[in-house]
């Protein structure tokens, strides 16, 4: 609870400094809104026109895309800054300053720089979620909403886990930003398309390699198909915290390695 209060203080200060320049702030968010929409427009158009997916309908794909986008947005507001800035901090020596404060360095980095550009993704994500809900023929009962909330939280946690795992890569090899960008942009774009079209191997990579399947495909699948015939699909309800915890362990291990190696 302490941490939440502290985080709130940080974020308020961050917005205070950003909102001094309202136009650039609005532009940042707008650019991301348009970017998300343009990606979606392409998918929407292709699926609408060609109708080539046997088990995915247009609005189901919309749901899938929006869960992926929304979870990406939330994760980005928190953890994107550590991913991009860690290497600079390490090289300039400023990282040391974070290590000798009474709060966890990751938490400090997260709090210091709220990823406001991701508000664009969040806005579009929520809009598309509503859009798909209006047009889908699902029984919106209590079970559905609980399922939805849990799955979305899991998706967010998986996205966070991916980003948290990317940030300490600078301790292992130089200039990891290109790799991080590739994972977060290219691979994620692939996951926003219905994975049925891909070769089995690629699907396996997206489950066990970089787990983007859990971010959009599986949650949407579970939400539109109420018959859960395969019990292992239940893993989707707990995969989030598991991966999140693992990524934190990896982060801490990397920091310890940095501590004993020095540079």
């Amino acid at each position: 609870m302490d941490s939440l209060w502290l985080y709130r203080r940080f974020v308020i200060k961050y917005f205070k400094s950003k909102l001094e320049y309202k136009l650039p702030f609005a532009m940042d968010v707008l650019v991301n809104i348009l970017n998300s929409l343009s990606f979606f427009a392409v998918i929407y158009f292709i699926i609408g026109k060609f109708n080539f997916l046997s088990n995915w309908e247009l609005y189901e794909v919309t749901l899938m895309y929006s869960i992926g986008l929304f979870s990406f947005g939330i994760a980005g507001t928190l953890f994107w800054y550590p991913v991009t800035e860690m290497e600079n901090l390490m090289i300039s020596g400023q990282l040391d300053g974070y290590l000798i404060k009474p709060i966890h360095p990751l938490f400090h980095l997260v709090s210091k720089h709220f990823g406001h550009t991701f508000l664009g993704q969040i806005i579009v994500g929520i809009s598309l979620l509503c859009y798909s809900f209006f047009n889908l023929d699902i029984d919106y009962n209590f079970t559905f909403w609980i399922s939805f909330i849990v799955l979305v939280i899991n998706a967010i946690l998986v996205q966070c886990a991916i980003m948290i795992s990317l940030s300490p890569l600078c301790f292992y090899f130089a200039k990891p930003q290109a790799f991080a960008m590739m994972v977060v942009v290219e691979l994620q774009v692939m996951s926003r398309y219905p994975a049925d079209i891909f070769h089995k191997i690629i699907q396996l990579v997206m489950i066990f390699g970089i787990p983007y399947m859990f971010v959009s495909y599986f949650p949407a699948y579970l939400l539109v198909n109420s018959d859960i015939s395969k019990s292992y699909m239940l893993v989707n309800y707990i995969i989030g915290p598991i991966l999140f915890g693992l990524s934190l362990l990896f982060f801490n291990k990397s920091l310890r390695r940095y501590n004993s190696a020095g540079s």
């Binding site: 650019v31 348009l34 970017n35 343009s38 392409v42 158009f45 060609f50 080539f52 790799f179 290219e186």
Partner: protein, 264 residues
């Protein structure tokens, strides 16, 4: 001219230092290609297309990947960084042309990318997908293709250079670059070939230069554009080159005065 050539060589050497990025971007490009392949394979398995065959579609994707290598330009970021740091004044009092300096810089990066990424992509794509590749082997198509390629490279450089010059006023240009790249990708046929788009979008793209940076060269090499149209399109392409060139000259004049008066 010697100065520019040595700059060219120096930049080439510098690009080689950052070679880890090359491997990663090759993987990125390959993953995009793979995505497109699977997507259109699925589409074609269900839909019959009378106009464009599956082979042509795959060839479109593969040639597109290469055209993209030619038309990716990052000069606007360099310029915008210099403006942001305030070191732009130093650049302006040097005894060489700002334009040529960045042109040669871009060309050396381009050459490097073509050699490093291009060869790998060539080998991978054309061995894996060789059965699908189709293209026109008429001489007129090939010649016009080279011309289109030249136009595409120049247009993309001009466009990015213009964004770079605009940074003299608004400093941060990544948002603008982002937007233009997004729209450009859609309107140039990068995600979806323009044949499939509704009339509205197709018409919009006719009036913009993006088509000539991607869709045009691919279609020429595929042979889907009748030779009778070559001349007409060539005139439009030259017109775009001139227009963008004039914009550059106009902006540049104002850039110089802005820096001299206000100082960076």
């Amino acid at each position: 001219m010697n100065m520019y050539l040595s700059l060219f060589k120096k930049n080439l050497r510098l690009s080689f230092v950052y070679r880890s990025n090359i491997y990663i971007s090759i993987i990125s490009i390959l993953s995009f290609t793979m995505l497109q392949y699977f997507l259109w394979k699925a589409i074609y398995s269900v839909n019959e297309s009378t106009e464009i065959s599956f082979s042509q579609m795959i060839s479109y994707i593969l040639f597109g990947v290469f055209i993209k290598l030619f038309t990716t330009c990052n000069i606007s970021q360099y310029i915008s960084d210099e403006v942001g740091k305030g070191s732009i004044e130093l650049a302006l009092i040097k005894p060489y042309s700002f334009f040529l300096y960045h042109l040669f810089r871009h060309l050396s990066s381009l050459l490097f990318e073509l050699i490093s990424k291009g060869t790998v992509l060539f080998i991978v794509c054309f061995s894996v997908f060789s059965e699908y590749i189709t293209f026109s082997n008429e001489w007129s198509n090939m010649f016009y293709f080279v011309f289109c390629l030249f136009v595409a490279v120049t247009l993309s450089f001009f466009l990015d250079y213009i964004i770079g010059l605009i940074s003299f006023w608004i400093i941060q240009t990544w948002q603008m670059k982002f937007l233009i790249t997004d729209f450009g990708n859609i309107l140039s046929g990068y995600f979806v070939p323009l044949w499939f788009f509704p009339k509205v979008i197709y018409n919009i793209s006719e009036y913009l230069p993006f088509k000539y940076m991607y869709f045009m060269p691919i279609n020429v090499i595929l042979g889907t554009i009748p030779q009778s149209e070559f001349l007409r399109y060539a005139i439009i392409q030259i017109a775009w080159l001139l227009l963008l060139g004039l914009i550059i000259m106009y902006l540049w004049k104002n850039c110089r005065t802005k820096v001299l008066i206000q100082g960076g």
